[in-house]
Symmetry: C2
């Protein structure tokens, strides 16, 4: 009997709307390329170390299941935030992991994730080379933050950007309707601790039927509270509703996060707990006091990374494509690499997959270039918008059951 | 030349996803019933007092515009929160308003709104009767809060409930994916100061593919912090991800809002402003301290009332229908009334319009009945869910332009 040739795939890091489309791409391509079994790690490498995995053929039974999987947000297999130790620090954990891989006759190991996940691919492929093992390790990019190096953009970003663009339009309309003979400031807080890609996506709301947000602040440029206040006061002399997008990660020149300004005392509540507050909530309180008008904070929160009901077709298709490309690369002998998306042309938008050594990607962080922000740092430029626009095009209609989008979920009773 | 017979329509109160579908219903029905002109008040009665209005034929040019209007969230004409004085307190304002109505040859006045707006209909129709004027005044219900008396439900509620159901599923999936060998509590804050209809809608997430939130707290029942904490601690012994829906308006037995607990001191921030905090943010901080695990707060915020991209077809159709029914009622001689929705049957769901004297509706608040909440007040019952389910069925696909939903907006250059 010929030796089995199996593949295992895992998901890691923060959720996105399309991380499962990459999983679907891996699964479909692996079946087509004749792998015997396709395993899924439960909760990534951390679960695998506990021998937590499923045979995906017990979970995906039809083309409809593939379609549901593409539309299911957050990690179908469960995620983890688990950083492998350096090889020289703890070889035991590597031996344990490779023992499990060998027991399952794993030929190919695919990991869908962001920076930390690419660090995992790097270490595992290094270890395999060091110890002469034959498994291949390929990374599939995934993060709403769009901060991975060398890829034009990351799967997950386009859908989050589309959700932010659509929700920003709705927030602006909501505010416009409520401001007659009175002023109101709305502050939207958008994810991105260090990189402002998602916050910049609020500019997508600037369309024929919407003037877009008035100000946009990314974390790449130090935030100046006094200049900000002056801009807002000036806008209030010209219009009634002022809408501002800020990244959760905006910082002062001295390095303090803006969200820390409101909680820098030792104040504790009735129950003895120190209170924390978001960036937008802090700024809304601050502006209410300084400008004397109604203000409100809108945090897009986790909704922005799991809103598969508003996913971009381009994004879902590309996520599927990079999943498939990872299997192909391993099948053709690659290891220690990450699939990337190369933009071939802007108009019409065309993209293809490429592949890079993961050592060049892991732990690098791609920020918004300075010249894609306006000189005074209060908006993004047309170049920035032109870059994002193709990534939010098209839709996958959710498969609605009883009025709500249907997802595919793990059936833990039939996992092997 | 025969006297003109014109109609004017306004919008008032908080935004919903479908308030413009009622406007479309008024417009279409008014044209079909042979009204000469259909005017729209800008920012309701408050704008009308400043003679701010548009001729709607300058804004709506085609069936496509009607379709766009149905899919446009927030008040197309602008809204206001304006309470008319009692007639005996200030007759001048009534004389001014009726002067404007007579100048525009208004035969019928339609007002789309919630409790306060019905108060406006009541006062204006009373004034017309007192002073022997011929205009007819009809109210069209609208509020995401679903707290109007005598109508089975209010237009706007179903779409907000659908958005909350879908987003709750996404939040639950997001949390599940992130909890392996660690605990996390997610608190979702949902609108509703006194009525818990929308918060209860989080239970819609309980479907074949989702276990739904673990606990649901409505403002109708006093919130007991100690019992709440005991419930959460018990749940944490059984599962890793605990998801809780709370109304923004939950209160302690002594009447204090939960959101006030965190800001009851004189603490001010670096800039001298007193900080305010939401209910969910407060409870997340509280539970982090008490349970020693990660917690997070998700506020659905204004997104829940303007998310027309996730509107319910039933809701949009009914909003259109009540708009039309208001015109019909006035055309047939009614005044001082509000259109209501009567549920004819549950399965299959069927509803028709009815009409009630607005004196029986204005300033009444319909709360969730006690027997639609569980005995211990930590969830809603099946009866509650059966009541909501028909209201979230079906979709209107957004009309997408360049990847984002398109709205219809006022063209102020051509307003008369």
């Amino acid at each position: 009997m010929a030796k089995k040739r199996n593949i295992i795939v895992g998901q890691s890091g923060g959720p996105t709307s399309v991380i499962n489309s990459s999983l679907a791409g891996v699964y479909k391509n692996a079946i087509e390329r004749g792998f015997d079994k396709v395993y899924g790690m439960l909760h990534g490498v951390q679960g695998l170390l506990d021998e937590q995995y499923v045979d995906l053929s017990t979970q995906i039974h039809s083309e409809l299941d593939i379609e549901l999987l593409k539309r299911t947000p957050s990690a179908f297999l469960g995620s983890c935030r688990y950083k492998l130790p350096e090889i020289h620090e703890d070889r035991d954990i590597y031996e344990k992991l490779f023992g499990i891989l060998n027991k399952l006759s794993i030929d190919t190991f695919i990991y869908i994730g962001g920076n930390d996940s690419m660090d995992t691919i790097k270490k595992l492929s290094d270890y395999a080379i060091l110890t002469g093992q034959k498994q291949k390790f390929i990374g599939v990019p995934k993060t709403i933050d769009n901060d991975l190096a060398l890829t034009d953009h990351t799967p997950g970003f386009g859908s989050a950007a589309k959700y932010i663009g659509a929700s920003t339009k709705e927030v602006i309309r909501d505010a416009e309707g409520l401001t007659y003979k009175k002023k109101m400031i709305t502050i939207m807080e958008i994810m991105g601790r260090n990189a402002g890609w998602l916050t910049g996506a609020a500019a997508l709301a600037k369309t024929e039927d919407c003037e877009g947000p008035d100000l946009i602040y990314l974390p790449e440029i130090p935030f100046d509270v006094e200049k900000f206040l002056a801009k807002v006061k000036d806008l209030l002399t010209k219009k009634d509703s002022v809408v501002i997008a800020v990244s959760e990660g905006i910082k002062l020149a001295d390095g303090r996060y803006v969200c820390e300004l409101g909680s820098s005392s030792d104040y504790v509540d009735n129950f003895g707990h120190k209170q924390l507050q978001g960036t937008a909530a802090y700024l809304a309180n601050f502006l209410a006091g300084e400008c004397g008008c109604k203000t409100r904070a809108v945090e897009f929160s986790t909704l922005q990374r799991s809103a598969s009901h508003m996913a971009s077709r381009t994004d879902i298709d590309e996520a599927f494509m990079v999943g498939g490309a990872a299997v192909k690369a391993a099948d053709e002998g690659d290891t220690g690499k990450m699939v990337v998306i190369d933009r071939v042309s802007d108009d019409p938008y065309m993209a293809k997959t490429g592949i890079y050594d993961v050592h060049r990607i892991a732990n690098e962080e791609k920020l918004v270039p300075r010249n894609w922000m306006t000189r005074d740092g209060s908006y993004v430029t047309e170049d920035f918008i032109d870059y994002i626009k193709p990534l939010i095009q098209g839709d996958y209609q959710p498969i609605m059951v009883n009025g709500l989008p249907r997802h595919l979920v793990l059936n833990m009773k039939k996992k092997r």
